[in-house]
């Protein structure tokens, strides 16, 4: 649905700064693709390129086989920018109605009312945006992105300033859009959030894709940390793909829950004594990609 092909973007005159380097990425319908990376990795620039707000120096960007700006003219995209100064004197309800009206459809009040309710903004509808807390302003920004139940969502640090309850609600809203077949591009510093929301996470470093990881899904394939009391030397014969991460700690790869159980059983047969088994979190999965940089 969203396709970036060997996209690069340079700022300033040569040599300048190459904020995005040779990035190829495709986000399918019904997929949430996370973008992670340190500050200045090029995440926001990549999202701006994906929507055609910036033009690539090299490469090509398409949304449903159209140039992004052409697509935007035809269909609204849900976009939450990392930094936006919403008009502070406007009231919340007016902002949402104005942005709903910008699509040129008649059911402005219905659509605005629906997202106001979804983001718990009914009581703030008459308040000026400048009077709202950071978290409420972020909820307004998310609400406007959900106005048209878009098929494409591009979210840049959407959980910034949100409390845990509204992080959960946002996650639920994303899951709903994903189930409806939307393609979601989600950039965040918050690896925990990406782990819970994204189907896969692209790690960006200095503008280039460093690696791509698939967060653990319960019962699905993935990597686990096994802490052992005895029999660590037999793990390799039971699991095959084993990496020692401490004296009694190992990382193993399995196909699914049944595979994990079978391999554990085989290892226990060989005299292994298990202390604990835990799926690896996204933070642990991405660490190898950045090891050696320190």
């Amino acid at each position: 649905m969203i396709r970036l092909e060997r996209v690069s973007r340079r700022f300033g005159r040569r040599p300048g700064i190459e904020a995005v380097r040779d990035v190829s990425l495709a986000v399918r319908a019904g997929e949430v693709c996370g973008i992670a990376g340190p500050n200045g990795a090029g995440k926001s620039t990549l999202l701006a390129l994906a929507l055609g707000f910036l033009r690539p120096t090299r490469g090509d960007v398409r949304i449903l086989d159209e140039r992004p700006r052409d697509f935007l003219r035809r269909e609204a995209v849900g976009y939450v920018p990392e930094r936006v100064q919403l008009p502070t004197r406007w009231r919340v309800g007016d902002l949402l109605r104005a942005l709903a009206a910008a699509r040129g459809r008649a059911d402005v009040d219905d659509r605005a009312g629906r997202v106001l309710a979804a983001m718990g903004l009914e009581e703030s509808v008459e308040r000026r945006i400048g009077e709202l807390s950071r978290g409420l302003q972020q909820r307004v920004a998310i609400a406007q992105a959900l106005l048209d139940q878009p098929r494409v969502l591009v979210l840049d640090e959407p959980t910034e300033g949100l409390d845990p309850v509204w992080r959960l609600r946002l996650r639920a809203a994303l899951a709903e859009r994903r189930a409806a077949g939307a393609a979601v591009l989600l950039a965040s510093h918050d690896l925990g959030e990406l782990e819970r929301s994204a189907d896969r996470v692209v790690l960006l470093e200095r503008g280039a894709i460093r690696s791509e990881v698939v967060p653990h899904t319960p019962g699905g394939p993935g990597r686990y940390r096994v802490r052992v009391r005895a029999g660590g030397e037999h793990l390799e014969s039971a699991f095959g793909d084993v990496r020692a991460i401490g004296a009694h700690e190992f990382e193993v790869a399995v196909g699914d829950a049944a595979d994990l159980s079978a391999r554990l059983a085989a290892w226990l047969e060989l005299g292994g004594v298990v202390d604990s088994v835990q799926p690896l979190g996204l933070e642990e999965l991405v660490r190898p990609a950045f090891e050696g940089d320190a």
Binding site: R73, A76, L86, L99
Partner: protein, 251 residues
Amino acid sequence: MWIWLRLELQRLLPRMLGLLAFGGIFMAAAATARLFAASDGHVEFDRLMGIGGYPLVSALLLSGWLVGRFPLVAALVLAAGVFSGDRESGFARLIAARARAPLLLFALRAALALLLAAALSALVLPAFDMLMLGRLPGPQLFALVTGYVLVFGALTVLLSTLTRGDAWIALFAGIAAVVWHALLRAGALRGGAPGPRGLLTALLPPQGALAQLETAFAADEAVPGFALLYCATYAALALVIAGVVAARREL
């Protein structure tokens, strides 16, 4: 689109109030002069001279000249940041992601800014004339207001699509145009290359045409149609270029 018009009016309201307060200073000056030096329904300069001598007369003449720049000031103030403000705040991206025709919204806002500048000028200038001269100005005043608002409003809108500080640059261009026009009229640029000279004359605000509109107003002569047309053409070209730039530029 009504909601956009209403919100834009709301956004521009503090600027409009500021402009009215600015105009109010001249009204106060004119009303005071009327109070102390009225004769036959208008301000009598001989009486002013008797009260405050040359400094008072000069101050009032300067006020008259300054209030004559009101359309220019109103156009700059109301059109300032019409595109660059949203681009700087990031709101332009939200509009681009949502609006079917972002350019139409931008055009709507620019048109409203120009219309309001003209409306405020059409309120302040006749009021000043009424107080000072005891009569309403003729149609020349409206041609003058239209010329100034179109030229400087459109120039500010164009600059807003290109850079920040649009109104300041437009003001600088206006001052440069006055100097350039004076040099041209004085024949001080006869030695220069005609190409660059002509290009700069065409790019700068059409001070010659504006001066013709001012002369017609001051001398109560017929509106110089060609000068007004020249201003309208300059503005139309600036707005077309602004539209092309706004549609194509990065956000």
